[in-house]
Subunit: 398 residues, 3 copies
């Protein structure tokens, strides 16, 4: 079928583009998985297994990893329809040489053993980088991260600022800030001085972004710490990633990292004063729900400093990606779109997640540009490369 | 064309699955239509005809049924583009042997006569069950329904609780409750005792669910009666169907049952405390608008006790079903999805409504699973059967 | 490929339907562009160029038009992925004989010169009407527009009422109203008398609608002026176009007409009392965001006096049009849908905008009606003609 050939060819061309992944939770000192438990312990699997009926006992921190993996694999079948399951299946096939079509309960031990052996190879990190065609990947660093012991041109530091905006009432956070900066914060001036120290530290270590996740009802102008961060992003010429829409701890009985959800309210109009006050700061914006994508499209179409950024968490599902991406490609300047980020905790997830995105991107490029005669195949690949790589380089200056 | 063959084959395989319809408004003592007026009197037709210009005169209760049908059929042409019209066309072709391609004003009398004759057959109910491949169908029973005079394994009782939560200030409702339970409700304790009696009565008669429809701004924790219902669902092990988002009587001048609409506000986050407090109760959740589907997907993905349920009313339209279904299949465990219910008032509607759903489901299974190579055709049918039947059996214990 | 043939044939048949464009901002005394600057000065291009990095200097009113066009054309490449760019490319090819595939910075002067020459032809207006197959086009007239000097059967007046509802506190507006009507407004009675004069004036000059744009949180029943307008629409039998959802001046530093955005809140339920109180007034409703389309579908399905109307501004993008149109065609009577309007400031834009709409409409008709066997090709064209033309004639009585 010719249509499939086109999508196949576009996917292949996009797969040849070296990746710069602009948002992840990789620990640069332990970037790859050490065991199958590091893969299946990803919150997507623990929360889906739990949601599908798995109890909390084996999800406890001190439970036996092999037993936990057996249990999660047993429950996998109940969500083998999901996109999240497809990522695991691709990891099993690509990295663990899993030969079959379906992963069943009986495969758990073989997978566990294969993972142990595979991940122990001394050059495993390099193998994953090569297999993934990965060039650089952004980190999510706490403000007191020393940022040492790793290659910051490969693992690009990013200052995560949630604690500075939402947890400065906690003595432990103030103490960490004092330890990191040598400044005891007591008023606005000392807070500014301390945060400034952080920006100096991060800039000196090659940081390329500041980032924060925000609840749906956040009012940027009501938070002095948030505004200081914006001012320092301006001074240090760092883009400020806004990840908008998470409500924390909606299900306190959930698994680790599987307790947050969202509220349907909130609007980007809450950010109007911020966007107006900081024209020099680029704001790559992620929205948690597809329902907010039209706002993101319109605000990026109007505000020079607002940039669409990836497909976050609950919207990192093909149906939402395809729809949101199509809308962005039809109405936002192509230079203002950061296509995708992996949000990965372990490097092994970059391949299946970007693989999913590239297939969707190829489909949209085929349907919206090549087939209607708006672009040649080569031009469509150029557009895809822009979303995958060129814009990351330009917007984050890497 | 091979793609059409695939969808056709999948549809055929799904049509062979005996249906258990988990939500309807069937009167088990008069389950089928007696005349064409029982078909065209369905609020979907009266409201669309009225919206398209039909006056209220012939819509009055005491108007002549044949005249009313003539008038509705005359107006049918103004909405022959709609999905609702397609259900009627399928009923006309399947059950009334209507031979033509288009139903026009001149067909009204012949259809009326054909209906009269067809529906009068002594075994009509059995014929409809057979033609529909219907095994069981859930009812919507008022709390004081005696639940007698019908086979409760075929017509499964379900306790509808809107009156208990929203109308206990009406003396007539309190009187009905007293009559049904023998308890004069005056305080929380007597209310609990009365509702407990209802659960005992319904359970004794094979009820398999408790259900309620709720406005967009409902706060479950602010309603003692609602929380009592949840507690009794826990005790009696009944799923609690939540149908979220209806605003009653927005258009008081509308036709019977065609006066309710919705408000764009509201969020499932309002139910967080409920979902957290009742982990043992399964909550099959219907949302009135597609805009709330991503919430439903995410809450079902995280909360073990939240289950996606059907495509309700204003979302029971192919565009919304296709989108919402795709999102659910990509992100919610397959064991936690009740695919569809008919919401029918007469049995004749189960066939065209489930027919519509099966065609959409077949299309999604083809596009999302078979064509990308994620599942064989047989596996896709298994997945479809799960949504159509297996999950209803497991979740509602039938 | 046969599917493409079908869409191609349907598009061709729809292109043969003479257009009545029910909403534009055409100046009937200067309906066509005089220079390329009148085309590229359209806010869609200035705002996208500005969003993509173009400074404000050349966007100033007194900047040199040729230089401005050069600059905008230079920035065009940064948004050549967008639907808005495709309109310009179609204008360049169709009206300016642009021969190439891609417009680049080097093409600016040639395009400018071609436009100057082309647009100066004495019969240019007639040529555009003919090329566009345009029969009539609605205007947006300020309340004190004399409505003289043009053919009101071709350029149909429409009373725009934003100023009367939102700016009566401004002395300049009151003065304009006094000058237009001879009535000094001081109380409700004099306001009603003045607005009545406006309706008499507009009706005498063939006005076919009253229109207003509204913020997301507008409460119709709290505005006496708005209710007077509704009463006068009833008396003068004029449809009242409601364009719902714009938030003005969100980005004050933006380009002319590129400063407004929206808020995600608001619901059509706010209009329930209005729709109930004025059953005789037709309300063609436009919503600014696709997220409100399901409300529009449901309210039009229930309320006889609510009509779906076009795809407005931020929703005038193929992804939103396709989705919203499909939903409307599946659930709203076909007689209650005004398909599209150009919103154009210059006649040259009617062709590419309606061209985009017709291609999308043809695709939806093919997928939803012809291919599933619900309609023949001829019946599908009839349905399309209804949305494009017949409904405009019936609803606006032209």
């Amino acid at each position: 079928m010719p249509p499939d050939n086109l999508v196949h060819d576009l996917t292949a061309a996009l797969t040849a583009v070296p990746l710069i992944d602009p948002h992840s939770h990789i620990d640069p000192l332990a970037p790859t998985a050490k065991s199958l438990d590091d893969i299946l312990g990803y919150h997507y699997y623990t929360e889906l297994a739990h949601s599908a009926g798995m109890g909390q006992r084996l999800l406890a921190k001190d439970a036996d990893p092999r037993e936990r993996c057996r249990e999660i694999v047993t429950f996998l079948e109940r969500f083998d329809n999901t996109a999240q399951h497809a990522w695991f299946a691709e990891i099993a096939r690509t990295f663990l040489n899993f030969p079959g079509d379906r992963i069943t309960a009986g495969d758990a031990d073989a997978l566990f053993d294969a993972a142990e052996k595979t991940f122990a190879q001394p050059d495993w990190e390099a193998q994953v980088f090569a297999a993934t065609n990965l060039e650089k990947i952004f980190l999510t660093n706490e403000f007191d991260d020393p940022l040492t012991g790793f290659d910051t041109t490969r693992y690009v530091p990013c200052l995560r600022t949630d604690a500075l905006v939402f947890k400065l009432h906690e003595p432990a956070v103030v103490a960490r800030l004092a330890k990191a900066t040598g400044i005891e914060v007591g008023d606005a001036a000392s807070l500014r001085a301390a945060i400034r120290k952080l920006f100096e530290h991060f800039s000196a270590h090659g940081a390329k972004a500041c980032a924060i996740s925000l609840p749906h009802d956040f009012d940027p102008t009501a938070s002095p710490a948030f505004l200081m961060l914006a001012e320092l992003c301006r001074e240090f010429r760092l883009p400020f990633d806004l990840m908008i829409g998470v409500t924390r701890d909606v299900y306190p009985g959930g698994v680790h990292q599987g307790r947050d959800l969202f509220d349907r309210g909130g609007s980007l109009v809450q950010y109007r004063d911020l966007f107006n006050a900081f024209p020099e700061v680029k704001f790559p914006v992620s929205v948690l729900t597809s329902a907010q994508n039209q706002e993101l499209v319109a605000y990026s179409w109007i505000f020079p400093n607002v940039v669409t950024c990836g497909h976050w968490w609950y919207s990192n599902i093909p149906a939402y990606i395809g729809r949101d991406l199509t809308e962005r490609l039809q109405a936002v300047p192509k230079t203002k779109q950061v296509g995708y980020y992996s949000d990965a905790y372990k490097l092994e997830f970059v391949l299946p997640k970007f693989g999913m995105y590239r297939r969707i991107l190829a489909g949209v490029l085929a349907d919206e540009f090549v087939r209607p005669g708006r672009a040649t195949e080569a031009e469509a690949v150029d557009l895809g490369r822009r979303l995958l790589r060129d814009n990351v380089r330009e917007i984050f200056d890497v």
